[in-house]
C-alpha cells in the first residue's frame, strides 16, 4: 500500500472535487464535449471514491458502535440524501436531458449534481462500511474473498459503464455485453453476501421487534433512493459514480430485503429463543459458579439464589436428606417464614415427595387449589399455588435432597421450567457432593501427613545404638503399628553412673502420643542424671507430667536400674505390663509385678504411696524381658490375642541362648502368629541377660 499520510489525502479530496466543479462550469459555458476531459473527470471521481474508501477504512471505528447505533447511522446516512435533495430543490430547479446518459441543461443542474455527487460519495462509503461490518460479524472462510471480489467487480462495472456509456439494464446487446457481464457477476456476489446476516440471530426479542418495524421504514427509504436521488442526479455528474451508486443501492435492497424477511421469520419464536438462551447461559453460569464454591453452606445458599433468579420463582428452598433420621430439613431458603420452616410438610419421604423419589424426576403441580389431597398446603403457605420440585441424587444414586420452587399464581411454571430445574438439580447434586468429597480428601491428606510426622518423631526418639554394659547382654526390637502408637525405650545413666533401661507407652495414638513420648524421653534423661533412686525419679516424672499432659492421657513405664558387677537389677513399674524374669535352668519364668500407678493419673499423693521397687539378684544365665502391651495384645486373623502365656513360654528355656537368639525367636514367633493381619499397636521388647562376672561384649549397633 502506498504510505501516503492521511493529511495529504484530506487536502487532496477537496482539491479534486473543486477541480471537477470548475471543469463542469467551464464545460457548461463552452458547450464542449471533449472525450479526454470526460474521461479525465471519470478517473478523478473514481480516484476520489477510492481515496475516501481508504481514508474511511482508517478513520471510521465502527467496532465501538453497538448494533443499534450502526442502524441509526445507516438510517441517517440514507435519509440525509432525501433531505439534501429536498433542500436543494427549494433553491434550485435543475434541468437535464432525457436520454441516457443525461446532461445538465441549466447551471443550477451543474451545481446541483456536483453537490449531490460529492454528498453521495461521502454517504455511500460509510454505508458500505456499515454493511461490511454486518457481513463480517461472523466471518467465514470465503467472506473476505467475496467482499473483495464484490468491491473489485463494482469498480470494474463502474469503469465499464463509464467507457461504454450504456446503462445497467441488461440490454443484452453487443454494446452492453461487458456491462451486463460485470453487472451480473456483481449481483451474484451481492446475493452471496446478502446471506451473511448472522448478527440478528442472537438479538434479544425486543431488539428484533424494534429493528423489524424500523427496518421496514428505512427499507422504504432505501427502495426509493434510486428513483428519487441516484438516477436523476448522479448520472449527469459521473457515470462511474452512478453505476457505483446503482450497485450499492441494489446491495442495500437485496441485503435489506433478506434481513427483514429473516427478522420476520424470527419474530414468532423470538420469545422462546430468548428463554432458551437465558437457560443455557444460566446453566453455564451455574456450573461455573457452583464449581467455584467449595464451602458447603455457601453452596446451598447459592443454589437457591440461582434457581430463584432463573425460574423467577417467588419462594425457593433446598431441603437436605438425613439418611439416619430419614427426614428432610430446609437448609437454605428464599421467602419462607420461620413458621413455615418449622411446620414444613415436606420433611418426610411420603406424599408429595414419594412421587418425586419413585420416578426420580421433577414434578410440577400447576394449581394446588384444584387438587383435593394437596389443598391443605395452602393453609401452610398461601402463596404456593404452583409448586415445582426436583430431586438431587448423588453419584451413587442416593437421595441427597429436594429443590422446591413456588409461585403465587397457578400455571406459574411451564414445561421448560421443569427440565431446567431438573438440570439444575443434577448440577447442584454434583457440586454438593464434590464439596463433601473434597473435604474428606483434604482430611485424609491431613491425617496422612500427621502420621508421617509422628513416625518421623518416633524414629528419632529411639536409641540408635545399644550400649555395652559390663557382664550383660542387651538386645531389643520395636515394631511400629499401622497407626502410630506411643512406644518408647531408652538406655539411661543414673547419678551414680549405674546404667538403666526403660520402656514406656503413651496412651492414645497419633501425633500427640509421639510428642508426649519426646517430652518423656527428655524428662527421663534429665531426671536420671540427678537421681540415684529410680523410685524418686519416676515420682518426679509423675509430678511433672500430671501438670503437663491432658487429663485423659497417661504414660505407663518400667525402669530397671542395673548393677553391672553384681547382676542386681532394681525394677520399678509405673502401671506398665509386668517384667518376665527367666532363671537359668528349667524353672518356669517369673512374672514381676511390683505395685505402681501409671504416670500422669494422679498428682503424686497416690502415686508415691503405691510405687514400690523390686530387687532381683540375677544369676549367670538369667534373663529379664521387658515389653509393651503391643506384644501381648497382638491379634491374629481370628482375633485371638498373643497373650502373656505365650510370651512366658517363649522366654522359657532361654538360658542357653544369647539375647540375639531370643530376640529373633520371639520376633519370628510373633510375626508368624500375626500373619497378614496389621498390627494395631506398637510392639517393643527389651532383653537383659546377665552373663556372670568378668565377661565383656563390644558395642553392637542396632
Amino acid at each position: 500500500m502506498l504510505k501516503i499520510p492521511l493529511k495529504i489525502l484530506y487536502f487532496l479530496l477537496p482539491v479534486l472535487f473543486a477541480i471537477i466543479f470548475i471543469v463542469d462550469i467551464l464545460l457548461y459555458y463552452s458547450q464542449l464535449e471533449i472525450l479526454f476531459i470526460i474521461t479525465f473527470r471519470e478517473i478523478i471521481i473514481a480516484v476520489a471514491l477510492i481515496i475516501l474508501f481508504f481514508v474511511a477504512g482508517k478513520r471510521l471505528h465502527l467496532e465501538n458502535l453497538s448494533l443499534r447505533q450502526k442502524l441509526i447511522r445507516l438510517s441517517f446516512l440514507i435519509l440525509s440524501n432525501y433531505v439534501l435533495v429536498f433542500i436543494l430543490n427549494l433553491f434550485m430547479s435543475p434541468e437535464y436531458t432525457d436520454e441516457f446518459p443525461q446532461h445538465a441543461i441549466s447551471l443550477s443542474a451543474v451545481i446541483f449534481s456536483n453537490i449531490l455527487g460529492i454528498f453521495v460519495i461521502f454517504t455511500l462509503i460509510p454505508v458500505l462500511f456499515i454493511f461490511r461490518d454486518f457481513i463480517f460479524y461472523r466471518q467465514k472462510r470465503w467472506t473476505n474473498l467475496l467482499f473483495r471480489l464484490f468491491l473489485f467487480f463494482s469498480i470494474v462495472t463502474g469503469i465499464s459503464v463509464a467507457v461504454t456509456r450504456q446503462p445497467l439494464n441488461f440490454q443484452m446487446t453487443s454494446q452492453s455485453f461487458y456491462n451486463d457481464l460485470f453487472f451480473a457477476i456483481t449481483i451474484l456476489l451481492i446475493l452471496l453476501l446478502a446471506l451473511r446476516n448472522d448478527w440478528l440471530t442472537y438479538l434479544p426479542r425486543k431488539e428484533k421487534m424494534l429493528f423489524f418495524f424500523l427496518g421496514i421504514l428505512v427499507y422504504g427509504a432505501i427502495l426509493n433512493l434510486f428513483d428519487r436521488v441516484y438516477s436523476p442526479y448522479l448520472t449527469p455528474y459521473s457515470l462511474f459514480l452512478a453505476a457505483f451508486g446503482n450497485i450499492m443501492w441494489l446491495f442495500m435492497v437485496i441485503y435489506g430485503g433478506f434481513t427483514i424477511v429473516k427478522l420476520m421469520f424470527h419474530l414468532p419464536t423470538a420469545k422462546a429463543f430468548d428463554r432458551k438462551i437465558k437457560e443455557v447461559n444460566s446453566l453455564y453460569d451455574l456450573s461455573r459458579i457452583l464449581n467455584n464454591e467449595l464451602d458447603f453452606r455457601k453452596l446451598t445458599r447459592l443454589i437457591t439464589q440461582l434457581i430463584a433468579r432463573v425460574l423467577e420463582s417467588h419462594s425457593t428452598w433446598l431441603e437436605l436428606y438425613d439418611p439416619q433420621e430419614k427426614k428432610l430439613s430446609v437448609i437454605s431458603q428464599i421467602n419462607l417464614t420461620s413458621t413455615q420452616i418449622l411446620t414444613n410438610p415436606f420433611h418426610t419421604l411420603d406424599g408429595f415427595n414419594r412421587e418425586i423419589l419413585t420416578n426420580k424426576r421433577a414434578i410440577l403441580i400447576n394449581d394446588v387449589a384444584v387438587l383435593k389431597e394437596l389443598r391443605f398446603l395452602l393453609n401452610w403457605k398461601k402463596d404456593a399455588r404452583t409448586i415445582l420440585a426436583a430431586p438431587l441424587f448423588s453419584n451413587r444414586d442416593q437421595l441427597m435432597g429436594i429443590l422446591y420452587a413456588t409461585k403465587p399464581h397457578p400455571f406459574g411454571f411451564d414445561v421448560e421450567d421443569v427440565s431446567l430445574l431438573e438440570g439444575f438439580a443434577n448440577q447442584a447434586a454434583i457440586a454438593l457432593e464434590n464439596t463433601e468429597l473434597l473435604k474428606e480428601s483434604i482430611e485424609r491428606e491431613r491425617l496422612q501427613q500427621e502420621l508421617k510426622i509422628a513416625r518421623d518423631v518416633q524414629l528419632k526418639l529411639l536409641p540408635q545404638t545399644i550400649p555395652a554394659i559390663v557382664n550383660h547382654q542387651i538386645d531389643c526390637f520395636s515394631l511400629t503399628a499401622s497407626e502410630v502408637g506411643g512406644d518408647y525405650y531408652d538406655f539411661i545413666q543414673f547419678a551414680d553412673d549405674k546404667p538403666g533401661v526403660i520402656i514406656g507407652d503413651v496412651s492414645g495414638k497419633g501425633t500427640s502420643a509421639a510428642f508426649y513420648m519426646a517430652e518423656f524421653k527428655g524428662v527421663i534423661q534429665t531426671l536420671a542424671r540427678t537421681h540415684q533412686d529410680p523410685v524418686k525419679m519416676l515420682s518426679q516424672a509423675n509430678k511433672i507430667f500430671y501438670r503437663n499432659i491432658e487429663r485423659k492421657t497417661f504414660i505407663s513405664s518400667i525402669v530397671g536400674k542395673i548393677n553391672p558387677e553384681s547382676g542386681e537389677i532394681q525394677i520399678v513399674r509405673a502401671g506398665h505390663t509386668p517384667a518376665i524374669y527367666c532363671k537359668n535352668g528349667n524353672a518356669a519364668p517369673q512374672i514381676l509385678e511390683p505395685a505402681g500407678l501409671g504416670i500422669g493419673l494422679d498428682n503424686g499423693r497416690v502415686f508415691d504411696k503405691v510405687l514400690s521397687p523390686q530387687l532381683i539378684k540375677m544369676q549367670p544365665g538369667d534373663m529379664l524381658l521387658l515389653y509393651t502391651d503391643g506384644l501381648t495384645e497382638a491379634r491374629n486373623a481370628s482375633g485371638e490375642e498373643f497373650g502373656e502365656e505365650r510370651v512366658c513360654n517363649l522366654a522359657h528355656h532361654c538360658s542357653r541362648m544369647s539375647v540375639l537368639e531370643v530376640r529373633e525367636k520371639i520376633m519370628k514367633e510373633i510375626l508368624r502368629f500375626v500373619g497378614d493381619t496389621l498390627l494395631h499397636d506398637d510392639l517393643t521388647i527389651l532383653l537383659v541377660k546377665y552373663d556372670g562376672p568378668e565377661t565383656e561384649k563390644t558395642k553392637t549397633k542396632i
Binding site: S507, K509, R551, K552, G575, L597, G598, D602
Partner: protein, 116 residues
C-alpha cells in the same frame, strides 16, 4: 468398627452406666458422651458397670480420667463393677484400683455409695 454400646439406668440416686463390647479409640467418644450427659444432668454418683465389656484400650481408660476430677469435685464418684478377670487385669496393671473403688456387681457398688 467393633460393636460397642452404652446402657444407662438409674438406681435411686445413683446412675448406672453399663458399657458392653469393645471400648477402643473409635468407640470411646460414645462412652464419653454418656458420662458427659450424666454430668450435665448433675448426676455425680455414677457406677460404671463393665458387665459385657470384652476389651478396653488406653483410650477407654482415659475417659474415666477425663471426668473424675469434676465428679469428685462435686461430691460424687465413679465406682466400677462387673469386670471380667481379663478386663480387670488391664485396670489392675495400671493401678486403677488405687484410684477407683471396684465392686463385684452393681448392687455392691450402689451400697458403697450409700455407706459413704
Amino acid at each position: 468398627m467393633e460393636k460397642f454400646e452404652v446402657i444407662y439406668s438409674q438406681e435411686e440416686d445413683v446412675a448406672i452406666v453399663n458399657i458392653r463390647g469393645f471400648l477402643d479409640a473409635h468407640t470411646a467418644p460414645l462412652f464419653e458422651q454418656e458420662l458427659q450427659k450424666r454430668v450435665d444432668e448433675k448426676k455425680f454418683k455414677i457406677v460404671v458397670d463393665l458387665e459385657g465389656l470384652q476389651y478396653i484400650s488406653s483410650a477407654g481408660l482415659g475417659v474415666f480420667m477425663g471426668f473424675i476430677e469434676e465428679i469428685r469435685g462435686n461430691g460424687g464418684d465413679i465406682k466400677i463393677c462387673g469386670a471380667t478377670p481379663k478386663v480387670y487385669r488391664v485396670f489392675d496393671l495400671l493401678g486403677f484400683p488405687n484410684l477407683f473403688e471396684f465392686a463385684e456387681n452393681r448392687m455392691e457398688a450402689v451400697v458403697k455409695f450409700n455407706n459413704q
